[in-house]
């Protein structure tokens, strides 16, 4: 007889796999999940896959195989292809990269900076006398003691009477003449002080002890590298300059267009603030700006760039943007009214004004008659300024002022400052009105 069913009935929080009693529900769940869950499922599914593969291989069942592939493919494309994949767990390695990069850069940067400080010391107040200069150089950078050095550390050739020991002026190390490189003192000055005037490079000029600093190759390379970095940082490429120029033209075009719109509107309204010629001049100016922008963008796109690179794409984009800007903003200007139209508008306006004046006069007339009809009414006050007594005189301050303003308008017009013109014209109009009133009151 078996033991289990006779003697004992296991009861409690039993693990279904190993039948251990775990004492509590939570312990059982933990135990089961940590120890049995995975291996059970994974093992089983692996077994199934391998079992299937085995039968397929052993039976060489092509049909089955094909079907499996077909199913796999179908599901690749139909079920999953459209689904956007969510980015899974990701980790940023930027900090690590920065750390590695920083330490590498640091190695060069500190060394280069040290050399630059020494270079600064050397270049500043360098005595022209060779002897004095040597003392100055050794003061800035201590030279290595060469008494025990028999071979050039760089080329391993022995030093003797004709191959003399030399010292790198920046690190003080020993080298022979063949291994040393000269740095132009003028160039060195620009490295120390980037704003210093650029020396005219003269490649024929042989650099010697006199006009150059003797350096070892290592120091020279570091300094040269720094100089290149400086140059690329400070110089603008042709493309950038052209682009900046183009932008500045666009900036200029913006207020010009706004002004033109205003002038056009004023013409259409029949105002006399601006002349036809003014507006035409403004139009010409905008046209010139557009031309300039077009030219620059053409220049930009014609800069050599490998097709398909980012630079080529950028150049094309600038050209397109410029073309679009010109088409949309500069060439879509409002058509000017013809002279006849302007005349018509002005005439209408004039008539309207005349009519108004007429009505005003009639009203005044009626009022006067009424007042006359009513005895005792005070006569209309005739307050005339003293200056109005001798009107038409040239020394009337109003006339004088008007003349001055006319002069200003002329000037402003010549310089295409149309905003000023508008203000001055308004001013002039007010003066004219004042003058007319004065005249009227003096006559009556």
């Amino acid at each position: 007889m078996a033991t289990a069913n006779d003697d004992e009935i296991l009861e409690g929080f039993l693990c279904p796999i190993c039948k251990a009693d775990l004492k509590s529900a939570s312990q059982l769940t933990n135990h089961f999940e940590s120890l049995h869950q995975e291996d059970q499922d994974v093992l089983k599914s692996l077994k199934d896959i391998f079992g299937k593969a085995k039968t397929i291989i052993l039976n060489n069942d092509n049909a089955d195989l094909k079907e499996t592939f077909a199913r796999a493919l179908k599901f690749n494309y139909q079920d999953y292809y459209d689904e956007e994949q969510v980015i899974g767990v990701s980790r940023s390695s930027t900090d690590y990269f920065k750390g590695v990069r920083f330490s590498r850069l640091e190695r060069y940067a500190t060394e280069t900076n040290k050399l630059l400080i020494r270079l600064d010391k050397l270049i500043c107040n360098m005595p022209s006398d060779p002897h004095q200069r040597k003392i100055h150089e050794q003061d800035a950078v201590p030279w290595l003691d060469g008494s025990s050095v028999n071979l050039c550390p760089n080329c391993a050739k022995p030093f003797h009477l004709t191959r003399r020991q030399h010292h790198c002026r920046l690190c003080g190390s020993i080298l022979c003449h063949d291994c040393s490189v000269f740095l132009d003192i003028e160039v060195a000055k620009t490295i120390i002080n980037p704003s210093a005037p650029k020396p005219v490079s003269n490649p024929e000029l042989k650099l010697t002890e006199k006009n150059g600093l003797r350096l070892c190759e290592h120091c020279y390379n570091l300094i040269k590298l720094r100089k290149q970095v400086q140059e690329t940082r400070n110089t603008k490429t042709e493309l950038v300059t052209a682009y900046e120029e183009m932008r500045s033209l666009m900036e200029q075009a913006k207020p010009a267009v706004a002004m033109y719109e205003k002038m056009c509107q004023s013409l259409f309204d029949g105002e006399t603030t601006y002349n036809m010629s003014d507006v035409n001049a403004m139009r010409g100016r905008i046209g010139k700006l557009a031309e300039g922008i077009d030219l620059l963008s053409k220049q930009i796109v014609s800069f050599p760039a490998e097709p398909g690179t980012r630079q080529a794409r950028l150049q094309n984009a600038i050209r397109q943007a410029a073309g679009h800007y010109i088409k949309e903003d500069l060439l879509s200007l409002r058509k000017l009214p013809t002279e006849a139209q302007i005349e018509e508008v002005r005439r209408q306006r004039y008539e309207r004004a005349e009519k108004q004046i007429q009505m005003e006069r009639e009203r005044m007339e009626r009022e006067r008659q009424r007042r006359e009809g009513a005895p005792g009414a005070a006569p209309p006050p005739a307050l005339t300024p003293a200056g109005a007594q001798h009107d038409d005189d040239d020394d009337n301050p109003l006339l004088e002022q008007m003349n001055i303003i006319r002069g200003y308008i002329k000037e402003a017009r010549q310089e295409l400052r149309f905003e000023e013109v508008a203000i001055l014209e308004a001013n002039l109009k007010e003066l004219k009105k004042e003058y007319k009133l004065q005249k009227l009151s003096s006559r009556s």
Binding site: D6, I9, F13, P16, L28
Partner: protein, 213 residues
């Protein structure tokens, strides 16, 4: 005729031709419907009027002789109390058969049984053999669940169905026998039983990783 000699051939030493099939069976159902009593009656032939409530789960084995095969049941009698519900999946996972028990004098337990059946159909092995047992048939006077209703439900869901009584031993052996009868007793079935894991149907092949194509 298949004979049921309780615990007759635990080891097939005496009968060299006898095949041994091992099956995992799990009992599910509301608390106090008589799961433990049913098992106790089947395994030991005993009945306790005041059977204590099961804690966690109980494990028993019983073998029955079945023509030339010996079917060994590993029976997991789970606790019916609601607080142990979360443990149930552990036990019915990989089970080849399940008996869902309800109390014929209590309509609620029948509803709960239906829920168990549903859960098994969804989460257990697709080839699981499920039997529905309406227990306490000796209390037919207080019956609240009609036989026909349960039978109809069982037919609808492809379940084995019997009304049992652990007290009178009515249909107890029969229901286990019926399950043994329905289980596959081929080598493959036995192997599957030994593996104890979930059988993956063809339709649910593990999908290949879509990460790198």
């Amino acid at each position: 005729m298949a004979t049921n000699r309780t615990g007759a051939a635990q080891r097939p030493n005496g009968a060299p031709q006898t095949k041994v099939c091992q099956f995992k069976l799990v009992l599910l159902g509301e608390s106090a419907v008589g799961k433990s009593s049913l098992v106790l009656r089947f395994v030991k032939g005993q009945f306790h009027e005041y059977q204590e409530s099961t804690i966690g789960a109980a494990f028993l084995t019983q073998a029955i002789r079945f023509d030339d095969t010996t079917v060994k049941f590993e029976i997991w009698d789970t606790a019916g109390q609601e607080r142990y519900h979360s443990l149930a999946p552990m036990y019915y996972r990989g089970a080849q058969s399940a008996i869902v028990v309800y109390d014929i004098t209590n309509q609620d337990t029948f509803g709960r049984a239906k829920n168990w059946v549903k859960e098994l159909q969804r989460q257990a092995s697709p080839s699981i053999v499920i039997a529905l047992a309406g227990n306490k048939s000796d209390l037919a006077a207080k019956r609240m669940v009609e036989f026909e209703e349960a039978q109809a439900y069982a037919d609808e869901n492809g379940l084995l169905f019997m009304e049992t009584s652990a007290k009178t031993a009515m249909n107890v052996n029969d229901i286990f026998l019926a399950i043994a009868n329905k289980l596959p007793k081929s080598e493959a079935g036995a192997a599957g039983a030994a593996g104890g894991g979930r059988r993956l149907a063809d339709g649910e092949q593990p999908r290949p990783s879509q990460c790198c194509k």
